[in-house]
Symmetry: C2
């Protein structure tokens, strides 16, 4: 029998998702693993990949010889064609050839790309952007990532550093972003941005049911959803402000690119359901040219938390 | 002897530039013609092209049979591949096949593209962006236009409506733009935006040597340069503010695309010399990711007022 399984990984800042796909693109085994500490997964991407792949193979009871290929999405600037990590935040590696390292270990082809780029690839091949030639993707989580499909292929720009919409400045006098700029999209519309707003309001003596999580510096997307559903005023304001600026950034990218579709993915979008996309749809008309607006659709990612896993699979299938 | 001349046109809102190129890409005849009234040239692009081409042929003393092809850059949404004007501001045409009309008239191939796209093409083929794969172009005049070369070819997006950086919202509470939005790049950094600022200051009783031009609603770029050189405070403020927002927009496009080069062209840039580009260079570091900034150059258009003429030539030569 031919090698029939593909192992795909979504390596995030606080957790790792893994899936074993069979030859029908069905997920036959899943893994979700918290990294011990915030940022821990970035300590050593290679070690994490090897450990998680071995754990999955054993737990799923499959044979190593039945594995066709392995692929992963990970944070950082990655040369997807060559499988080289050019730059990753908090990592000493520069121009690290991780493909060779993993292929030598497991003896099967290995592919890796920037996590958000891979997520947009997944939505383009198997999800909400299927069949489109020009796609803009926003992935909202702890931070804010971007991805572009242009003229029918993944676009990463010079030295694979493009699609950083998260750091589009929307108000140069706005709040400080972790990147050092002021008023970036990420500083308004990511979980980091929403927490900063809530922290500011708490410092003014206002109450919120998310106070403890904000103080710890980590809100779960589901808790955010709960707080909004229960009409917690500070949470509602943070979320409305996040949507407002995401609508402006969406308008800017629609004007710049004229995509057929804008896709919203990531943990926050997944937890908030269609609520965000509807709010953005209601507002975006004010922030882009009517003639361009009329030929673009705004959609929630169709693969939910699995966008990056399916994108990893698409990298394997493209070979 | 083979047909040796190409006729290229830059059809603007208030003037038309024309050039006859010989087979060595030398300009052997030039024409600069004001349109009677503001916006007049858009009344009938076809009529204007025919009239100007006939006038140039006659004045240059060349024979019609020596003309190889004609090409033009014009405002509007244009399908450059098909030679079809999809939409042009103030024009009743939709999906107008201007290629057929001109080719029937002169019996030679005709090419047309959006003026700023064609200008960026010119800079890419023969000017400041030669040899680059990813180029972002800002063209500053009465309005503000954008152009993109991505992965080694002109990118226009879905239905050729992309690269509208002029309407990137940089402050949603900013001044009203002619497009109906607030705080667009064009509302800050174009001549229209600078005039609006000066008009506002004049309404507060401040003096400027450009008062008359501002009241008439048309500042010549050279007058703007003169006012800045003579340290007219209102003009200096308008120009500094224009540069500031163009630096923010530049940072946003650098983050989104990771180009090798950003090109600044158009009448205002041409008149202001290197001053704008130097100001933007000094400021842009605050508005883009350092890792992306380090691999991008900021340059003034090398072909000056002729970017669009050379871009038109490049459309002919690409066939």
């Amino acid at each position: 029998m031919a090698k029939k399984y593909n192992i795909c990984l979504d390596i995030g800042g606080t957790k790792i998702l893994g899936a074993i796909f069979d030859e029908n693109r069905e997920i036959v085994y899943r893994l979700k693993k918290k990294t011990k500490e915030k940022g821990d997964s970035e300590e050593n991407v290679e070690k994490v990949i090897i450990q998680v792949v071995e754990e999955m193979i054993e737990a799923a009871g499959i044979k190593k010889k039945d594995i066709h290929a392995i692929a992963a999405g990970a944070p950082g600037v990655i040369d997807q064609t060559a499988g080289i990590i050019l730059f990753s935040p908090n990592l000493p590696w520069r121009n690290y050839d991780i493909r060779i390292a993993i292929e030598n270990k497991f003896g099967v082809p290995f592919y890796i790309g920037n996590d958000v780029n891979v997520g947009v690839l997944g939505e383009w091949k198997y999800g909400a952007a299927k069949g489109c030639n020009n796609v803009v993707g926003f992935f909202v989580g702890t931070g804010m990532g971007g991805g572009l499909i242009l003229d029918g292929k993944l676009f990463t720009g010079h030295k694979h550093k493009g699609a950083e919409f998260g750091h589009m400045v929307l108000n140069a006098e706005g709040p400080l972003c972790s990147c050092g700029q002021r008023g970036c999209l990420e500083a308004f519309s990511s979980k980091k941005g929403m927490m900063a707003y809530m922290r500011q309001q708490m410092s003014r003596g206002r109450k919120t049911m998310l106070a403890e999580q904000v103080e710890e510096g980590m809100i779960k997307s589901k808790m955010l959803k709960k707080a909004v559903r229960e009409a917690d005023p500070v949470a509602v304001e943070a979320v409305d402000r996040a949507c407002h600026y995401l609508a402006i950034a969406t308008g800017n990218m629609i004007n710049a690119i004229s995509p057929e579709v804008v896709i919203y993915g990531g943990g926050v979008i997944e937890a908030m359901g269609d609520q965000w996309v509807e709010k953005i749809q209601a507002e975006v008309d004010h922030y882009c040219m009517p003639s361009i607006r009329e030929t673009v659709e705004l959609k929630k990612a169709a693969l939910g938390d699995d966008s990056i896993l399916y994108g990893a699979l698409s990298m394997i299938e493209a070979e």
